[in-house]
C-alpha cells in the first residue's frame, strides 16, 4: 500500500519536477556559476573543457592547481568598484518604486469602488481591469508610442498649454517620463487585484463604528481602512515592483538614452559586449535585490496584518 502510494507520488510529481530541474534549476545554477568565470576570447565564457594536448581527448581543464586561472571574484569587484553600475541600480530602484507608488494611487479608489459594488457587478468590473492586460505586452507599449509621439495630439495639446508658461516644446517619447507612465500602465492590474481581494473582505461595521465614535472621513480611512488593507498593499507592491525592476523592453522602446534600466544593461552585457560573466553578476545582483524586496514585503505584510488586528 505505502509502496504503491509512493509510486503514485513520483509518477505525478516526477515529470514536472524533472522538466523544471532541466529547464529552470540547472540553467539558473549555470548562470550563478558563470558569475565566477572568465569571459571567453570571443565573448561568452572561457571553456572549462578542452582537448588534452597529449591524447587529444576532451577533458576537464580546471583542477585543484590551476583553478584560479578559471575562477575569479573580479566580476563582482568590478560591480562594486564602478559607480556607474551602482548608480544605475539606484536609478532603476527609483523608477520601480515610483511606478509602484503611482500604481497604488491609481488602484486604491478603483479597488475600493469594486469591493463596495453590488456583488453581481464585481466580476464584470474586475474583468474590465484584466481585459487590456490580456492583449500583447508589446502592443500596450506601442499604444503609448503613438500617444506620446511628437506628432500626436497629446504632445501638441500639452505643448500648447506649456507654451503659455514658456517651457514648450517638450519631448515626451524617449524620456524617463515615458518609461514611468508605460511601466504604470503595464503593471496596474497587478496592484488592483490583490488590493480588491483585500478590501472585499473588510467588515463595514468597523467604519460605521468609527463614524459613531466621531471619526472624520479622513480618520476613518487612515485609522481603519488603510491599516487593514496593508497586506493587500504589500502583495500588490511586490507584484508591481519586482517585474518593473527587471524590465528591459519598456525602456528599450520608449526610454531613449536617459531612460535605461538594469535590464537594458544586462541585455547589453549578454548580447552586445558578450561579457557573460559580468552579465551574470548583474543578474545575480538583480535577483538578490528582488529577493530582498520580496522578503521585506512579506515581513511588512505580516506586520500590517498584526497591527491592524
Amino acid at each position: 500500500m505505502t509502496r504503491s502510494k509512493n509510486l503514485a507520488k513520483w509518477l505525478i510529481s516526477g515529470p514536472p519536477l524533472l522538466y523544471l530541474i532541466f529547464f529552470f534549476a540547472i540553467p539558473t545554477a549555470m548562470m550563478a556559476f558563470a558569475a565566477f568565470r572568465f569571459p571567453g576570447d570571443y565573448g561568452g565564457l572561457m571553456p572549462l573543457f578542452g582537448a588534452d594536448p597529449q591524447t587529444g581527448k576532451q577533458v576537464l581543464l580546471v583542477n585543484s592547481h590551476n583553478w584560479h586561472d578559471y575562477l575569479t571574484l573580479d566580476n563582482f569587484a568590478r560591480f562594486f568598484q564602478e559607480a556607474v553600475y551602482i548608480e544605475l541600480f539606484i536609478k532603476s530602484f527609483g523608477y520601480a518604486l515610483l511606478t509602484t507608488l503611482l500604481c497604488l494611487l491609481a488602484s486604491y479608489p478603483l479597488a475600493w469602488l469594486i469591493a463596495r459594488s453590488p456583488k453581481k457587478w464585481r466580476d464584470l468590473l474586475v474583468l474590465l481591469v484584466i481585459l487590456p492586460f490580456w492583449s500583447n505586452f508589446l502592443i500596450r507599449v506601442y499604444a503609448w508610442m503613438i500617444i506620446l509621439g511628437p506628432q500626436g495630439y497629446f504632445a501638441k495639446l500639452v505643448n500648447t498649454a506649456l507654451g503659455f508658461i514658456g517651457i514648450a516644446p517638450q519631448q515626451f517619447l524617449f524620456t524617463p517620463f515615458a518609461v514611468i507612465i508605460v511601466l504604470v500602465y503595464v503593471h496596474l492590474p497587478f496592484m488592483v487585484l490583490p488590493l480588491y481581494a483585500n478590501l472585499e473582505k473588510h467588515d463595514m461595521a468597523l467604519l460605521d463604528a468609527a463614524q459613531d465614535l466621531g471619526a472624520s472621513r479622513w480618520q476613518r480611512f487612515w485609522k481603519v481602512t488603510w491599516p487593514l488593507s496593508l497586506p493587500g498593499v504589500y502583495a500588490g507592491a511586490a507584484l508591481v515592483f519586482i517585474p518593473a525592476l527587471g524590465i528591459f523592453a519598456v525602456p528599450d522602446l520608449v526610454g531613449g538614452t536617459d531612460g535605461i534600466m538594469i535590464g537594458n544593461l544586462i541585455k547589453q552585457q549578454f548580447l552586445d559586449s558578450r561579457d557573460w560573466p559580468f552579465g551574470s553578476v548583474l543578474s545575480i545582483m538583480l535577483t538578490l535585490s528582488v529577493l530582498l524586496m520580496a522578503g521585506l514585503m512579506a515581513v511588512l505584510g505580516r506586520g500590517g496584518k498584526r497591527n491592524a488586528l
Binding site: 505525478i12 510529481s13 515529470p15 514536472p16 519536477l17 522538466y19 523544471l20 529547464f23 529552470f24 534549476a25 540553467p27 549555470m30 548562470m31 558563470a34 478603483l110 475600493w112 469602488l113 469594486i114 474586475v126 474583468l127 474590465l128 481591469v129 481585459l131 487590456p132 490580456w134 492583449s135 500583447n136 505586452f137 502592443i139 500596450r140 506601442y142 499604444a143 503609448w144 508610442m145 503613438i146 500617444i147 509621439g149 506628432q151 495630439y153 500602465y185 492590474p189 487585484l193 519586482i242 517585474p243 525592476l245 527587471g246 524590465i247 528591459f248 523592453a249 528599450d252 522602446l253 535590464g263 544586462i266 549578454f270 551574470s280 543578474s283 538583480l286 535577483t287 528582488v290 520580496a294
Partner: protein, 259 residues
C-alpha cells in the same frame, strides 16, 4: 453610501478605466487611418489590413506563433496539471519552489539562464528552444489554476466514489478529473496566450533565423513603425478577446482563478 464620497470614487475610477482602455482604442482607430503616420486622423481606410495580409514575413511569424503556442501549451498543460495535483495532494518541498519561482522572478533572468544553458549544450537555437522555454514558464501558471480548482473541490465526492468501490485511478478519472477539467482548460488557454504573447524569453532563445509575432512586432517598433502594426495589433486583440469569451463559456470563474 455617502453620496459625495462615491461621486469622487466614481470619477477617479472612471479615469483609471479610461487610462486602461484609451491606448488600446487608439491603436484600433489608427489601424483604419489613411495615413502613414500615427499622428493625425486623415480618413478611413482598410488598406493596412490588406498590407498585412500581403506581408509574408508577418504571416509566417503568425503561423509560427500559433504553432509554438499550440504545441507548448499542450505540454505545459500536461506538466502543469501534474504539478498542480502533486502540490495539492502531497507535502513537497522542492516542487512548489521550482513551480512558483519562475513566476516570481523578473523574466529576463530566466531568459538569460536558458540562453546560457542552450549554448552550453551546443543546442542549435530555433523553434525547439523557444518551445522548450515556453513550456518551462507556463507550467507554474497552469499548476496554480489547477491547484486552486482542486482546493475548491468537494473532497467528499471522491470519498463517496471510493466507498462505492472505485479504485484510486477510477475515482480520479470519473470524479476528480471532470471536476477540475474547467481549470485544466483555463490553464491550457492561459499557457497558449502566454506563449503567443511572450517576447522577452523568446527574444533570447530564438537564435538567428526563428521568428514569432512578438519578435516581428518588436523589430518593426525598433526600425520603422507603419500602421500595419496597428492592424496586426487589432487582430491580436480580437483573438485574445475571442479566447476570453471561450474561456468564460467553458470555465466560468476560471478567469478569476487564474489571477
Amino acid at each position: 453610501m455617502h453620496s459625495k464620497q462615491s461621486k469622487w470614487l466614481w470619477a477617479a475610477s472612471l479615469l483609471v478605466y479610461a487610462f486602461l482602455y484609451l491606448p488600446l482604442v487608439i491603436v484600433v482607430v489608427y489601424s483604419f487611418n489613411d495615413s502613414r503616420l500615427n499622428a493625425e486622423w486623415v480618413g478611413f481606410t482598410t488598406k493596412w489590413y490588406g498590407v498585412l495580409f500581403a506581408d509574408d514575413q508577418m504571416l509566417t511569424a503568425a503561423r509560427n506563433s500559433l504553432l509554438i503556442g499550440l504545441v507548448s501549451s499542450i505540454f505545459a498543460t500536461f506538466f502543469g496539471t501534474l504539478a498542480g495535483l502533486a502540490m495539492y495532494k502531497y507535502k513537497l518541498r522542492l516542487l512548489p519552489i521550482l513551480v512558483l519561482t519562475p513566476i516570481a522572478i523578473p523574466e529576463i533572468l530566466m531568459a538569460l539562464s536558458l540562453l546560457m544553458f542552450f549554448v552550453a549544450l551546443n543546442f542549435t537555437m530555433g523553434y525547439l528552444s523557444i518551445g522548450l522555454a515556453h513550456i518551462a514558464f507556463s507550467i507554474g501558471f497552469v499548476a496554480i489554476v489547477v491547484r486552486s480548482r482542486l482546493q475548491g473541490m468537494d473532497e467528499s465526492l471522491v470519498e463517496a466514489a471510493r466507498d462505492l468501490g472505485a479504485g484510486p485511478l477510477q475515482a480520479f478519472w470519473r470524479v476528480t478529473f471532470p471536476l477540475i477539467l474547467p481549470g485544466i482548460i483555463a490553464g491550457a488557454l492561459m499557457a497558449f496566450t502566454l506563449s503567443i504573447d511572450d517576447f522577452v524569453i523568446t527574444y533570447f532563445v530564438a537564435g538567428a533565423g526563428a521568428s514569432t509575432l512578438p519578435l516581428q512586432i518588436y523589430s518593426m517598433l525598433k526600425i520603422a513603425v507603419t500602421p500595419e502594426v496597428n492592424a496586426i495589433s487589432s487582430l491580436l486583440m480580437l483573438l485574445t478577446l475571442a479566447l476570453i469569451v471561450i474561456a468564460a463559456k467553458i470555465a466560468p470563474g476560471a478567469l478569476r482563478a487564474s489571477h
